[in-house]
């Protein structure tokens, strides 16, 4: 849009209606389109967006609820601005995490783009080839793309990338909140940077995001290298209704002591069996997602549901999805869900919430209380996408049978407490704030390889300047980078090698990796650890806490002590750790818990509120838990007497508890972590109190970091030198030192400073 045109429009008399003047700033054809939609006025978010986007060249972050009209808010002014463009090249690049979302947007924008004669092209693995070929011949218009497709293009056809995206007017990033944390977000951050480098003039960025916690952080992330962070437009209201139900099921009195999945004892009527029965009735006939936490749970649940279907003589609609299944099986399920012709429910660990694309579903169910608000939002975002429908969430909780001699922790009934706490935080719009991402090194490895392929052999200095000039990667120091390169160039790793003139090129392993089609994506994995005792595999489970030699792990109803950890093979060697009674509640989970959620658990126990989304069982357990809380004197005390063991309630999240456990274990005390604290096994309460009192605050994180064994977490961490992984672990945990000291003092009953 030429400045002259804008001035002319600004001089028009403002309409006197309260509809605002946004409409007047739009391109005439777009105005026509708006009228044709039958809209009497533009929505609030659209008015604000038009003013912001037309008013300056700067980046803009639009935060509003789903279905509030965000897409139009960005596209109406941007399309108008690019309509008169004569320069060859695509004008607007729109990036979204899901192909299904792109397909939806395509349908909405087709007509609009047609009106202003800008080509609109979907660019992802399933999109039709014809429009792609056309736009490659005559680059222009709007391209809708996923991060993985951008990566593929930069890798395989950098000349095409330059021809298409070398002169962009704007880049729109949708579902921005889903990119603020995790490897996929880091990946996108680097991709945006690389696209920017293809351009002479930096294209402005517009971010579309759900209503989330830290908008300032999001604005800074969006702006990358720009001198100013993006302008924030936060528009309230308009969230689709959410229907929630929390159902608690009790295990039979002498059921499997693990409370874990067991296969096919038809008489036992375990909690899982009852849950399966309810799910069968509630979910049949539509598309749904069921998140079951661990692979073992997924398998058992899916199997149970299949059996029920068979016994009822109806076709099975329930299928498992997790990392151990063959790619073929997983893709079969994904296709069936996407197809939409047959009702399908996917029973999954976590993989289905990340990037893997299956469109929207009717309801989302979860086994076990929510552990992360970011995750919960992500999952909820899958249902209720259609206009007018609500999002439906069913939380299935399992409680061990309330025996008189149950461990005191079980008496607090954490499952239902945690569910209520999570939903409280959901209502208050809390989301875990992003922190230095553990995936930073893994994605750096990935991007270094990708940059070498895209740009050819290049020097270490140029690599560093290109990758680390902006955003999250800028936190890597030159020393870090040099160590990373050395590790990658190590003879056994063979990812990169060096030419005599110093430039870095791919090594044999690097060539293999980059040639594979799996290389485009940087999703988190749902890796589980194998527990091995005397050569026998006990099972697999997800572990989110830091593992040191001596860590106590609860599994299959018993406690085990880690004697050896094989990080790369994901094996923990264990021996039984016999310490009497073991709490039965299910503490397996893929995600760590944030301090805020842990604190909210305490708040729920202290309050009297009885939410009506709880079923009768759940309500009972909530009341019982509160009663136990008072009985155990936990308003004042942090310690629970569990006979030969002591539970220490920190009311902090996973990182804090993890760190405390590392500290205590390194001092020779056997301790196990649970969600809101740690258990000192083999340590009666008086001794436990003494132990805590004897701690002199938190030692330097450096010292603690030495013990941590499970550093290889993300996709390419195995290629990073262990030293470097440890160094960044220490750096990430550095800010925890002060609060840890404070916590220790609090536990020791001293006044907090």
């Amino acid at each position: 849009m030429s400045p002259l045109q804008l001035t002319a429009m600004m001089n028009l008399p403002r309409s006197s209606s309260e509809g605002g003047s946004g409409f007047d700033l739009l391109h005439p054809q777009i105005q026509r389109w708006v009228r044709q939609q039958g809209w009497s006025r533009l929505r609030d978010v659209q008015e604000q967006a038009i003013a912001a986007i037309c008013g300056s060249d700067e980046d803009v972050l639009i935060s509003a609820a789903t279905a509030a009209g965000k897409t139009e808010a960005a596209f109406l002014p941007l399309l108008g601005a690019s309509a008169k463009r004569e320069q060859p090249g695509v004008a607007i690049l729109y990036v979204a995490p899901l192909k299904a979302l792109i397909n939806d947007q395509f349908r909405r924008l087709e007509d609009l783009c047609d009106k202003i004669e800008l080509p609109l092209v979907r660019w992802h693995g399933d999109a039709p080839q014809g429009p792609k070929t056309k736009v490659m011949k005559a680059p222009a218009g709007v391209v809708l793309i996923t991060p993985e497709s951008i990566e593929a293009m930069l890798l395989r056809r950098p000349a095409t990338a330059e021809a298409l995206f070398g002169a962009l007017d704007a880049i729109i990033i949708d579902e921005l909140h889903s990119f603020l944390q995790g490897p996929r977000g880091l990946h996108l951050s680097s991709l945006l940077n690389r696209i920017e480098l293809l351009n002479d003039r930096r294209p402005r960025r517009v971010g579309l995001s759900a209503t989330i916690g830290d908008l300032e952080f999001a604005a800074r992330w969006l702006s990358g290298t720009a001198p100013k962070p993006a302008q924030i437009l936060a528009v309230a209201g308009g969230a689709p209704p959410l229907k929630v139900q929390v159902r608690t099921y009790v295990e039979p009195p002498d059921g499997d002591p693990s409370g874990d999945a067991e296969l096919d004892d038809p008489l036992a009527e375990s909690a899982l069996a009852k849950i399966a029965q309810h799910a069968f009735e509630a979910l049949r006939g539509s598309n749904n997602l069921f998140f079951a936490g661990s692979r073992a749970n997924v398998e058992t649940l899916a199997d149970r549901l299949r059996t029920i279907s068979e016994n009822a003589h109806v076709p099975n609609e329930f299928f498992p999805h997790h990392g151990s299944l063959s790619k073929g099986l997983r893709e079969e399920l994904e296709l069936r869900l996407k197809d939409g012709r047959l009702p399908t429910t996917a029973v999954a660990t976590t993989t289905l919430e990340l990037g893997i694309d299956i469109g929207s579903v009717v309801a989302v169910s979860q086994l076990g209380a929510p552990r992360s608000l970011a995750s919960l939002r992500q999952r909820l975002g899958r249902s209720g996408r259609r206009e007018g429908s609500s999002a439906i969430f069913r939380n299935y909780l399992r409680e061990p049978y309330p025996a008189a001699d149950a461990d005191p922790l079980d008496k607090l009934h954490f499952p239902v407490i945690q569910a209520v706490a999570a939903l409280n935080l959901l209502r208050s719009k809390f989301v875990e704030p992003p922190e230095t991402d553990p995936a930073l090194l893994s994605v750096s490895v990935h991007q270094i390889l990708s940059l070498i392929v895209q740009l050819g052999a290049l020097s270490a200095g140029k690599l560093y300047a290109t990758l680390c000039r902006q955003g999250p990667f800028a936190t890597l120091t030159k020393t870090d980078f040099v160590d990373l390169l050395r590790g990658m160039g190590n003879g056994e790793v063979a990812l990169i090698e060096q030419a005599p003139d110093g430039s870095l090129m791919l090594g044999p392993e690097g060539e293999k990796l980059t040639a594979s089609r799996d290389f485009y994506a940087n999703f988190s994995t749902d890796e589980e650890w194998r527990l091995v005792h005397s050569g026998r595999t006990l099972g697999t489970l997800p572990i989110v806490n830091a593992l040191v030699v001596g860590s106590i792990i609860g599994f299959a109803g018993r406690r085990w002590r880690a004697t050896g950890v094989d990080d790369k093979a994901k094996i923990v060697e264990v021996v039984p750790h016999n310490t009497g009674r073991v709490p039965k509640f299910d503490r397996l989970g893929q995600e760590p818990i944030h301090d805020r959620l842990a604190a909210e658990l305490r708040a729920v126990l202290l309050s009297n509120d009885l939410p009506d989304y709880l079923d009768d069982n759940a309500k009972e357990f909530l009341a019982a838990g509160r009663a136990a809380f008072t009985l155990l004197g936990l308003q004042k005390s942090h310690f629970i007497d569990a006979g030969s063991a002591t539970h220490v309630l920190t009311w902090r999240g996973t990182s804090a508890n993890s760190l405390l456990a590392v500290l205590l274990t390194s001092m020779g005390f056997a301790c196990e972590t649970f969600d809101v604290g740690i258990t000192l096994t083999g340590c009666p309460i008086d001794d436990a109190v003494d132990v805590i009192a004897s701690l002199d605050g938190c030692p330097p994180i450096d010292d603690l970091g030495r013990f941590v064994e499970n550093l290889v977490v993300e996709k390419y961490d195995a290629y990073v030198p262990e030293d470097l992984l440890r160094r960044l672990w220490v750096r990430r945990h550095q800010p925890l030192r002060g609060p840890m000291t404070k916590l220790i003092r609090e536990l020791a009953g001293m006044a907090s400073d």
Binding site: V453, L458, A460, Y464, R486, Q498, A499, E511
Partner: protein, 434 residues
């Protein structure tokens, strides 16, 4: 080749500027060239063989900055003197010998653009070569009172037998047709086609009526056609020079590298067996391009056996019977002569105008030896650059004494092409080594 032909003042400036920038001058190579008599001799033999209707293939291997490009320019000059046509191009990340994405066509197009003959040594000689052929045919046609087209067809009969020869001949006839009818556009299209600048067959068909274009897969065949054509046009043969072969070494896909090596193997086989007439290849590359066991020519087994150097040849005992020519480093004595040559250029060949005395040359070499060690004469590029800059200062400031300046001469370490890494000072990244 140290003929003391007088240096023209205009050439002098060209030469000095080029040397000061660290590049090979377009003219006056004979004034600078020092040593390497045996290497030059070997290449002269090759050129003679080509001119005689034979074929040849050489790999000129030398470190970066050792004078490879200079040497290759010299070889081309000699070929031109022997009335060959030369074409040359540097490989680049987007220009290589085998490709499917247009990179081979790009190399070919660049090479044709640089086509040179003795009368047009600077490139762009394609139109004159074509003109020469056409006017020759016209002369014969007039003399024998036959239609020109018939003569052309007759002359091109041998070309038509080669792969792609039919369309090649057709395009040449279009050129003649264009010049007959005064149709400049048609002539231009014909030249475009010959330079492989048509991106699609459709466009070529619309412009010239041919069904094919010179694309990635046709590069080698087109070179053979071209060799045949130059002989028909009255020249003695075609010399093809491809420099910066290290770009193949730097390709990031082993599949791409191997495809390039396979193509090179084909060329080596054909040339060494004498399957082509009047065609010769010279490839310029660095030692790692030749020898790296994973990425270099030697990684391709068939090439390794053909190119393996004489096991009896040690430094001092040189063997030029094999395809690989190692550019021996200049000896300090040769380097001294080189400095003297540069001094002479500045003085336009007149010893009375020498800017510095002989002892200055010795002092300069001693200084370099101190600064960057005894390897200074192995990579002449930067040392020459520094010397030229020294002389330039002295020329513009006659009052200065060379003795004071020599001490402050700085010779850069050769960083290669990628100089644009604006990283500050003592940077572990700048000198990063795995």
């Amino acid at each position: 080749m140290t003929e003391r032909t007088p240096i023209r003042p205009r050439d002098r400036d060209t030469i000095v500027q080029a040397l000061a920038a660290g590049v090979v001058p377009r003219v006056g190579l004979q004034h600078i060239q020092v040593g390497r008599m045996l290497e030059v001799g070997a290449l002269i033999k090759d050129i003679d063989r080509i001119a005689d209707g034979g074929s040849s293939c050489r790999f000129v291997i030398g470190e970066y900055g050792a004078g490879k490009t200079f040497f290759l320019s010299l070889v081309r000059l000699i070929a031109l003197e022997r009335r060959c046509v030369t074409i040359h191009a540097d490989l680049a990340p987007d220009r290589r010998i085998h490709a499917t994405g247009g990179q081979a066509r790009g190399l070919y197009a660049e090479a044709i653009r640089n086509m040179a003959t003795r009368t047009k040594p600077d490139g762009g000689a394609l139109p004159s070569v074509v003109e020469r052929f056409i006017s020759d045919c016209v002369k014969v046609a007039h003399a024998e009172k036959r239609p020109v087209e018939q003569v052309i067809d007759e002359r091109l009969a041998s070309i038509q037998e080669l792969v792609g020869g039919h369309d090649f001949a057709h395009v040449l006839k279009c050129y003649w047709q264009g010049s007959e009818d005064g149709n400049e556009a048609l002539k231009a299209s014909a030249l475009r086609w010959l330079r492989a600048e048509f991106p699609t067959k459709t466009e070529a068909r619309q412009a010239l009526g041919v069904r094919s274009i010179i694309d990635d897969a046709d590069v080698y065949d087109s070179l053979k056609l071209l060799a045949c054509f130059t002989r028909l046009a009255g020249y003695t043969g075609l010399l093809v020079v491809f420099d910066e072969m290290v770009n193949i070494y730097k390709l990031q896909s082993s599949q791409a590298r191997n495809q390039n090596f396979e193509q090179i193997l084909r060329m080596v086989n054909d040339m060494l067996q004498g399957n082509s007439e009047g065609l010769g290849f010279v490839f310029g590359g660095t030692p790692e391009f030749l020898m790296d066991s994973r990425r270099g020519l030697y990684s391709y087994e068939a090439l390794q056996s053909r190119l393996a150097e004489n096991q009896f040849a040690t430094p001092g005992l040189v063997d030029f019977s094999g395809p690989v020519v190692r550019l021996q480093n200049l000896s300090p004595e040769e380097f001294l002569i080189l400095l003297g040559n540069i001094r002479a250029i500045f003085a336009l060949g007149d010893p009375a105008n020498h800017l510095v005395p002989d002892e200055a040359l010795d002092a300069f070499m001693a200084h370099c030896s101190q600064r960057i060690g005894e390897a200074y004469f192995r990579t002449p590029r930067n040392t020459i650059k520094a010397f030229v800059q020294l002389l330039a200062i002295l020329e513009q400031n006659p009052a200065l004494d060379w003795r004071t300046l020599i001490g402050s001469v700085a010779v850069d370490d050769d960083p290669g092409e990628d100089v644009a890494t604006a990283i500050d000072g003592d940077d572990e990244l700048a000198t990063f080594e795995l």
